[in-house]
């Protein structure tokens, strides 16, 4: 994608129709003519017809648009940014997070914090990880900056609870180990681009 394309932030099909609104009446006579014309062409009844037609469609044509939300749900985009998910490595099942702290650093609402320590295997271990969802603005920077594709945004948007702490525990965000095979890669910000391979410069290795 070239820079020009990237900078074009106009979304949608960009196919627009222009309405013919006619001439604006200028003299009193014009205005009178307009009133007469509109009255006798029964424009008012067109409006009435449209609404009664839609009512008929809705009631009998099965064209009702209401989604009964808690019982019915619309599918959400894979790029939707709701409560974060912590992904695991598919091979080992170990969580992907390496505790680099980039998400903590980049977070513009300053809501991520983590504690790390030196563990028995001489690795950096994340001992605590929290997101303050009272502050999180779901901007997606953390997912974008994560070098391990470990923190991503999930689809969990029904966030009403008595305590915010309830959905900010690392274990709660982590993919359950028994559902590892259902783990989805995230397509949103920070995901690997389809042409990533082309953009990488190869490093020579001696083995």
């Amino acid at each position: 994608m070239s820079l020009e394309q990237f900078k074009n932030r106009t979304v949608g099909t960009q196919v627009y129709k222009t309405l013919d609104l006619g001439e604006t009446p200028k003299s009193g006579m014009d205005r009178f003519k307009q009133v007469v014309k509109r009255t006798f062409s029964l424009e008012l009844f067109v409006g009435l017809w449209v609404t009664i037609r839609e009512m008929g469609n809705a009631l009998f044509g099965g064209n009702m648009h209401t989604v009964k939300y808690p019982f019915e749900k619309l599918p959400i985009s894979p790029r939707y940014r709701a409560i974060h998910d912590m992904l695991r490595l598919l091979e080992s099942g170990h969580y992907r997070c390496i505790g680099c702290g980039l998400c903590e650093k980049i977070c513009i609402s300053n809501c991520i914090s983590m504690d790390t320590r030196y563990d028995e295997n001489q690795r950096k271990e994340v001992s605590e990880y929290t997101i303050n969802f009272g502050r999180c603005i779901f901007c997606g920077y953390c997912a974008e900056v994560c070098p391990e594709l470990a923190i991503v945004h999930g689809g969990r948007y029904e966030n009403a609870s008595e305590q915010r702490a309830g959905f900010s525990i690392f274990e709660d965000m982590l993919t359950p180990i028994d559902k590892l095979n259902l783990q989805q890669e995230y397509d949103g910000f920070g995901a690997v681009t389809p042409n990533a391979d082309e953009n990488i410069k190869k490093t020579p290795l001696a083995y």
Binding site: C100, G101, T116, E125, E128, T203, P204, A206
Partner: protein, 826 residues
């Protein structure tokens, strides 16, 4: 460092077409840095010798490629830092550094402060041309604090350089790595310097020089500070936080009198506990060097304190009936000023055994020399001096700044040194080749000064009495030496052919004894050295030496004849070119000595300020009223370099402080730091508010922190000095009041990363003979201590620490640092 730059040694050079002024004899790199010109350099450390490991500081000087860290500037020199060839070399060098460097920047403790990362980005390394099989390099713990990740190491040798040239321990060195051999193809295809740098890099890795895998050093952690990558980290800090999360709070090291510049690096303790915690201490390692107490003795704060009104009321009551306040040198100038105000207004005595002797000694010195304070400091010694003499201090333990200066002079200024001390030390002679140490008997400190007078004094200036006294030690000795003599011998030989006798003369070489007369200096023998060899050695030491310094230690302040010692020092200064520096015993001893009128003894109801007493104000959390610890306080303190340095509160404090008590007792100011401009100008302080004190170094390395005390000097007559008395010498079992390195007070003891215990320290032989635990019997008390062997001690004198105020070791020793004791095994 001398404050005044002399203009006559400035020359002009051209760097990349712009003309700059530079000091003559300086390295190109330093001249560039002083003028804010950037030349990349990884392995070079200011104040240390060039290592030539990285070769990235390559520049072209007058058409020749040189290393900027190693080539000195010359008048009119033209330097170019970016010729195509140099840029090619630099790129190749950086690419080589990136070969096989683990891509674990995400977890690396250097977290963004990495010089490898910075230079890789700076030089725009976006692809790699070289490769070699990697060698597995194991992570190791070198000591209780040092953690080394060999995989991350780029073998720039900064750690080994600083350990050798600055610290003096030489505890780490480069060893063979056993890596793959570089392909010969590279020799032809890659830039020359990059190839040789890689060749060396591929072969080496850093390891403790003892060969045991343990560093066995003073654990100062300076190697951690200088490491450009995350290879060297303190064990406590490994993976605990990212550097960018830490808030830097500039402060001054609280424990030794070095007054080292430090940063407390602060962050909340954990997710659950949001109270700030100091994660580590860092420093401007290019310009200042820390000792172990400064770097690791930071977590001594008085935590979780709130305003205890009841205790405060009791404290006010206690101050009402107090006769004496006992305190130590762990106090800011402002608080010392408050105590002095209390003395003036309420007549409360001030008792400070740590500082009193030093204060007296300063006044003796002042009377004898006319100087209000000693004349040089450790920074200036490092910069200029090439001959240092240390008297009266266990340098390794008492004053890190002195140790670093003594060592640095040997390494950087091609210097020489004399070390006088009753306790033998195995480390100090290793600082350089031209070091002579005198392990004399305790009590002969005056003799050492007389010897210095003899060696250095301008004979014409010396009073005749002194001259005669010194001459009285000289003795003429007949000495038999073997000499080669060539003689012509004439013999009468019968010629075999002719049967005639004829005279034949031939030359014969024989060795003959010859008696000559030599002058022997008895003082040298008295001081435990060999007078027969010393003259020759000293002659060698004095070659090309111009700048002499004398370091005075704490032994002199606690000496029976302190007054005479001070006079002798004054005499030395008056008759030689030697400049003098004295060690304030501990942290802010100099400030206390200048501000407070101290009393000789404590009487009646005593308030202990971080000390023992009937009512205890304590920052250790165990007193009757809590007060803030040094890392929770704002204020100023005076370093050994006579600078009034501002320090800031690294951590919050919620309780009462001395200023609150002052407000109750006598009227006081709003904040402790409001006292800063009120410090006595008569003693050299300036009327400057705390907030306007600067706190920085320039790129040249000029110390701009706080302000320098003004030192006055008046002309006085030469002091009349007493002779020394050999009968003062202590015999038998001797204990020396001396802390292990890194321990200074209760606060260093409280710090988690300072492990040295409150024990009896002795040389390995002595320790073996003493067993595990002993009772040391003094004239006025006993103390029971474990015995710890210190490989760096030589001789039979044992060291008893004083860093726990509760043990009141000062009372045991009384007026001297040396005491004859009886040691019983327990």
């Amino acid at each position: 460092m001398s404050e005044v730059e002399t203009l006559d040694n400035m020359i002009s050079i051209t760097i990349n077409g712009t003309e700059f002024r530079a000091k003559e004899g300086e390295f190109i790199l330093n001249a560039a840095r002083a003028n804010d010109v950037f030349i990349p350099a990884i392995c070079y450390l200011t104040r240390c010798s060039p290592t030539l490991a990285c070769r990235i500081c390559l520049v072209e000087a007058d058409g020749k490629q040189v290393y900027a860290c190693n080539a000195k500037v010359k008048e009119g020199m033209s330097v170019t830092t970016d010729t195509p060839n140099i840029l090619e070399e630099r790129r190749a060098i950086m690419e080589v550094y990136d070969v096989n460097h683990p891509l674990q920047c995400g977890v690396c403790d250097q977290s963004g402060e990495c010089e490898l990362q910075n230079y890789t980005l700076e030089l725009g390394i976006d692809s790699q041309s070289y490769m070699i099989p990697d060698t597995k390099r194991e992570t190791a713990n070198w000591s209780s604090i040092l953690h080394y990740d060999a995989g991350l190491c780029i073998v720039c040798e900064r750690c080994t350089t600083v350990c050798k040239d600055m610290i003096g321990d030489s505890a780490i060195t480069t060893v063979k790595r056993g890596g793959a051999v570089l392909s010969k193809d590279y020799k032809d295809t890659m830039p020359k310097d990059a190839y040789s740098m890689w060749n060396k890099l591929q072969k080496s890795v850093i390891a403790p020089s003892s060969g045991t895998g343990e560093t066995n050093c003073s654990d100062c952690g300076e190697c951690i500070a200088v490491c450009p990558v995350g290879a060297l980290v303190s064990r406590d800090f490994v993976y605990s936080t990212n550097a960018w999360d830490l808030t830097r709070i500039p402060a001054v090291s609280a424990h030794s009198s070095d007054g080292s510049q430090i940063y407390y690096e602060v962050k909340p303790t954990s997710i659950a506990d949001r109270t700030p915690k100091i994660y580590r201490v860092t420093n401007e390692w290019s310009y200042s060097t820390l000792d172990g107490s400064a770097r690791f003795g930071y977590d001594f704060e008085n935590a979780g304190v709130s305003k205890d009104k009841e205790a405060f009321a009791k404290a006010i009551e206690a101050f009402g009936k107090a006769e004496t306040i006992r305190f130590n040198s762990m106090i800011t100038n402002e608080e010392a000023m408050m105590l002095q105000t209390l003395k003036e207004e309420k007549g409360i005595k001030l008792y400070n055994p740590e500082v009193r002797a030093f204060q007296k000694f300063l006044s003796y010195y002042n009377d004898a020399s006319g100087n209000s304070l000693y004349t040089t400091d450790t920074d200036a010694i490092m910069k200029n001096s090439d001959f240092v003499i240390s008297v009266g201090m266990a340098m390794r333990n008492d004053s890190p700044a002195m140790k670093y200066a003594f060592n640095n002079v040997q390494k950087m200024n091609k210097g020489a040194g004399l070390y006088f001390h009753p306790v033998g030390d195995t480390l100090i002679p290793t600082f350089g080749k031209s070091i002579e140490s005198f392990v004399h008997k305790a009590g002969l400190e005056e003799a050492s000064l007389y010897l210095i007078l003899d060696l250095f004094a301008d004979a014409e200036k010396l009073p005749s009495a002194v001259k005669d006294y010194i001459a009285s030690f000289k003795r003429e000795e007949k000495e038999t030496i073997k000499e080669k003599v060539i003689k012509t011998v004439t013999e009468t030989v019968v010629n075999a052919d002719s049967g005639e006798e004829e005279e034949v003369s031939k030359k014969v070489t024989t060795m003959e004894d010859k008696e000559i007369t030599v002058t022997r200096n008895g003082l040298i023998d008295i001081l435990g050295n060999d007078s027969s060899k010393f003259d020759a050695i000293f002659e060698k030491m004095m070659k090309k030496k111009a700048n002499f310094s004398l370091m005075i230690g704490e032994d002199f302040y606690y000496h029976k004849k302190a007054s005479n010692l001070a006079k002798l020092i004054a005499l030395i200064e008056a008759t030689t070119s030697i400049k003098v520096v004295m060690t304030p015993p501990k942290s802010n001893a100099l400030g206390v000595a200048l501000i407070c009128d101290l009393d000789d003894e404590a009487t009646g109801y005593t308030i202990g300020y971080n000390e023992i007493g009937d009512f205890r104000l304590s920052a250790l959390g165990d007193g009757d009223l809590d007060i803030p610890a040094f890392n929770q306080q704002e204020g100023t303190m005076i370093s050994i370099s006579k600078r009034v340095l501002p320090t800031n509160a690294g951590l919050p404090y919620g309780g009462y402080e001395l200023n609150d008590i002052m407000s109750e007792l006598v009227s006081s100011l709003d904040n402790t730091i409001d006292w800063t401009p009120l410090l006595p100008t008569a003693k050299g302080f300036k009327e400057v508010s705390f907030d306007s004190l600067p706190n920085s170094y320039t790129n040249e390395g000029v110390d701009n922190r706080g302000y320098r005390l003004s030192v006055t000097s008046v002309d006085v007559e030469l002091p009349v000095v007493d002779k020394f008395d050999e009968s003062d010498v202590l015999e038998g079992e001797i204990a020396y009041r001396c802390n292990p390195a890194r321990q200074f007070n209760d606060f260093t003891d409280k710090a988690n990363q300072i492990f040295e215990t409150f024990s009896l320290y002795a040389s390995p032989d002595k320790a073996e003979s003493l067993g595990d635990k002993v009772e040391v019997v003094f004239a006025n008390g006993t103390i029971e201590l474990d015995v710890v062997a210190d490989e760096k001690i030589k001789g039979d004198i044992v060291e008893v620490p004083d860093f726990k105020s509760a043990k009141d070791v000062y009372s045991l020793f009384g007026e001297s640092r040396y005491q004859t004791v009886t040691i019983r095994k327990v």
